[in-house]
């Protein structure tokens, strides 16, 4: 109760613990991909299916107009209520979702249009069908394709950036992240269950994982932290969209000015630079 009261208080946002950010990132009233698409884009034409197995409603995508120009938008989509969540599998994609995303990215490349992705998933779905149809291969393929895609890619982490399931649509020239979004190799609960042998230690795990937008900006993994209205994006979705739209426009303009060959090379260089290691003298 105490914590929930805190989350609703606009002035509290600055002093949030990491786990409180996790709760904000998962807030049921938080704007989802389709909300940003309707606020920021016009002429959205949703395109369905991976041409192979089925359409995965946990990932949406299609052509849209952003401030006068065509872009391909792709994002994970959570449900607003139980019925929609069952339909969208709580925003946890199956392999066919990632393969739809790949198809749309290839289409964007073919027509020389930028890709904008919205990341909001607790992770790729761990289920029997997902494994049978190659969840790992589908994600791996997207990393490979995005690494070499000859068109600009911008990814916006708007809620939960859950591990490989998030990264599967988030290899990009620019990664933007909303102030109260999280992005992590494992959920704090999953990490706590493994390393502390109790899901109740999720708060400690969240602190250790350093999964907030501020953390990731400090670590050099994201390119920009996009501020949210006081109290969080769910208090003022229009305001959050406005902030994100401004950042998106700025980065798209910058990327459009770069030759595509150079763009792909610098994207590769960016990911080559990811990681921290020491070089010790050999014996």
């Amino acid at each position: 109760m105490e914590e929930n009261a805190n989350l609703e208080r606009p002035e509290a946002a600055a002093g949030l613990s990491r786990y409180e950010r996790v709760k904000l990132a998962r807030h049921q009233e938080r704007p989802f991909t389709i909300d940003y698409v309707s606020d920021l884009f016009s002429e959205f034409i949703e395109l369905h299916g991976d041409r192979n197995f089925r359409d995965d409603p946990a990932i949406v995508g299609g052509w849209a107009n952003f401030r006068g120009r065509s872009v391909m938008v792709i994002g994970q989509q959570k449900g607003r209520d139980m019925k929609e969540n069952v339909h969208r599998n709580f925003g946890s994609p199956h392999p066919e979702g990632y393969r739809k995303a790949e198809r749309l990215m290839r289409m964007a490349e073919k027509f020389g249009k930028p890709v904008v992705t919205f990341v909001d998933t607790q992770g790729a779905y761990p289920g029997i069908g997902a494994e049978e149809r190659g969840q790992a291969e589908a994600i791996a393929r997207n990393l490979f394709v995005m690494a070499g895609l000859r068109t600009p890619i911008i990814s916006c982490v708007i809620g939960e950036g859950g591990s490989g399931g998030a990264l599967g649509i988030a290899v990009a020239d620019r990664v933007l992240m909303l102030e109260n979004a999280i992005y992590s190799v494992i959920s704090p609960e999953g990490c706590a269950a493994i390393l502390w042998r109790s899901r109740d230690e999720a708060e400690r795990a969240a602190e250790a994982l350093k999964l907030t937008a501020t953390d990731l900006l400090d670590l050099g993994v994201i390119d920009e932290l996009v501020s949210e209205p006081a109290g969080g994006a769910h208090v003022d979705p229009g305001g959050a969209a406005e902030h994100l739209g401004e950042a998106l426009a700025r980065h798209l303009d910058e990327l459009r000015a770069i030759d595509v060959e150079e763009l792909v090379l610098s994207r590769r260089e960016k990911y080559y630079g990811m990681g921290r290691w020491e070089e010790v003298p050999t014996e």
Partner: protein
Amino acid sequence: MTWFKKPKQKLVSQKRELAADVWVKCDGCGEILYERRLGENAHVCPECGHHFRIPAGEYIALLLDDGFLEEFDTNLRSADPLGFVDSKPYTERVDAAIEKMGPADAIRTGRGRLDDRDVYLGAMDFGFIGGSMGSVVGEKIRRLADRATEEGSPLILISASGGARMQEGIFSLMQMAKTAAALERLAEDGNPYISILTHPTTGGVTASYAMLGDVILSEPEALIGFAGPRVIKETIRQDLPDGFQRAEFLLAHGMVDRIVPRVEMKPVLSTLLHHMC
């Protein structure tokens, strides 16, 4: 250029001598086996064909001519970018793993020859923090793939991993993108990449380089998946079908090209490279 050799040579050979007189029970058939005889058969049970897990060094010896690897990047060591502490500090875990396994982290990489052909090879060590992929594994694979690209030579990676190394947080996740980017560069230049999956290969390793081979081979019965069976079981609250996520299951579902017993791995690789190079 350094010749491949096991670290702490003396200690290892002492252990080997001890092990030679030891009997081990096969996980596959329950047969009690003489360790020396098992070692002569690439640690595959002569009774039932069960593949015992072997360290990277043994796989290298099995595949490369004269068992020789010109090993690269042995001087890379995990940093502790998050200052991660759970029941003990990450730095202590790394120290303990180096003490046990040597300084290579969870993968040995280098150049060798396979039936007189230059190959760039990486072999993972599950014994090093569960074969988890942190920044060192990612950087070593990146450098290896880039060298293969520059030399126009084939790349072979042998996976054995529980997935991403969560003590390195977001950096471990980013190694998936980094290794995929290096493989994309390798492929752009038309160089072959063969991925070999051994027990177990799961998580972020499967969802990056392990599943990106032009050809993907697996050892029999290896557990291969994105999510671990325990997580899946907890999520769907159902029992998992027999043989779920085993190599034979992946073959039937079209996710790997062939299942190859360890003792046949070298001739199969040799023939494949003959066709692909």
